[in-house]
Symmetry: C2
Subunit: 193 residues, 2 copies
């Protein structure tokens, strides 16, 4: 049987990553996030820190890490494009490897031609997100921080997919984690799988 993949898009602070991890644990399959970065870095020669930083956010045309300059001279691709293509390859490889959960990184779009993919979007009320992020990052102004990251994710998604991030019609199921609770979201997705 073909591998079964669950992709999870999520608003910042909605607990989408936690849901992905708990779901994967319950289903006994891997949840990929850091592995995508590692794989993309190995394949492309890009630094992991670049992929982590720009893997879901567009950046202005900034200079590449020094060891990468030669490659860049031979291509017309921007740093964003390089990271995008490295991630696309990594996500496709991981999906080929076995059933899994993939959090973020436009995996819903990247795997759109595969069968047996469930695309999920997790969102949450702002007050609950503020509460969550205030605990994780007490040094930031939480609402602005959340809106900035959401905007970056939306811009990145729009740039590469030409679709609106978080618009329900691009997903199979959208869940409000603040209304339903993290564990109920996990249970529902487990049932769905």
């Amino acid at each position: 049987m073909q591998n079964r993949i669950i992709t999870i898009g999520r608003e910042y602070g909605s607990g989408g990553r936690e849901i992905g991890e708990k779901l994967a644990e319950k289903l006994g399959i891997p949840c990929y996030d850091k592995e995508i970065v590692e794989q993309a870095s190995i394949d492309s020669g890009l630094l992991e820190e670049d992929i982590i930083e720009k893997g879901e956010h567009l950046s202005a045309l900034s200079k590449l890490s020094s060891h990468f300059t030669l490659y860049n001279l031979y291509s017309n691709m921007t740093k964003n494009d390089l990271i995008w293509h490295a991630q696309v390859k990594a996500i496709k490889q991981l999906a080929e490897k076995g059933s899994c959960v993939i959090v973020g990184r436009c995996a819903d779009y990247i795997l759109r031609d595969r069968e047996n993919v469930i695309n999920v979007f997790i969102f949450s009320d702002m007050d609950k997100r503020i509460e969550r992020i205030s605990q994780l990052h007490p040094e930031v102004s939480p609402e602005k921080f959340i809106r900035d990251i959401d905007k970056k994710r939306a811009d990145y998604y729009k740039h590469f997919t030409e679709m609106e991030w978080g618009e329900s019609r691009h997903y199979d199921i959208c869940l409000n984690s603040s209304a339903l609770g993290i564990d109920k979201c996990v249970d529902l997705l487990c049932d769905l799988y």
Copy 2:
């Protein structure tokens, strides 16, 4: 325990009504749709046909059914407002009566101050909706018909709630009925309840 209400907003042709009816049957609670019209008609004196026609669509300022003219002379409300207020009252009364499923008619917004309400939105890919509506209404051009009704529902929702119809953040769960199937949607909502 307070009554538990499930409201279902739905794109035209998505099978949202069918999901509501099957869910209510499975849960052993009523699914209200026509009852809202009857109740609103009894309370307001408006004709059922007016409520059916305009209960989810804004209309231009058209003349009221003749027996209603006197009331209209004494108020500054438009026909849309009259129907809206009659529906609000009916939906609140039905929610007070016992646990239930309510399809459409901005019930999510009308019951926003109640606890124990699960707000659901059902959407579907256009090709599946065309298939469904072509069978139900072979006389119409299905895609245009679907888009027209969706637009009317969206305008009506926006007018009275000042929110965007179908935008995931206004709901607790949004389901793609064409991807998941009607019965799977019913099962998931049953679990959630």
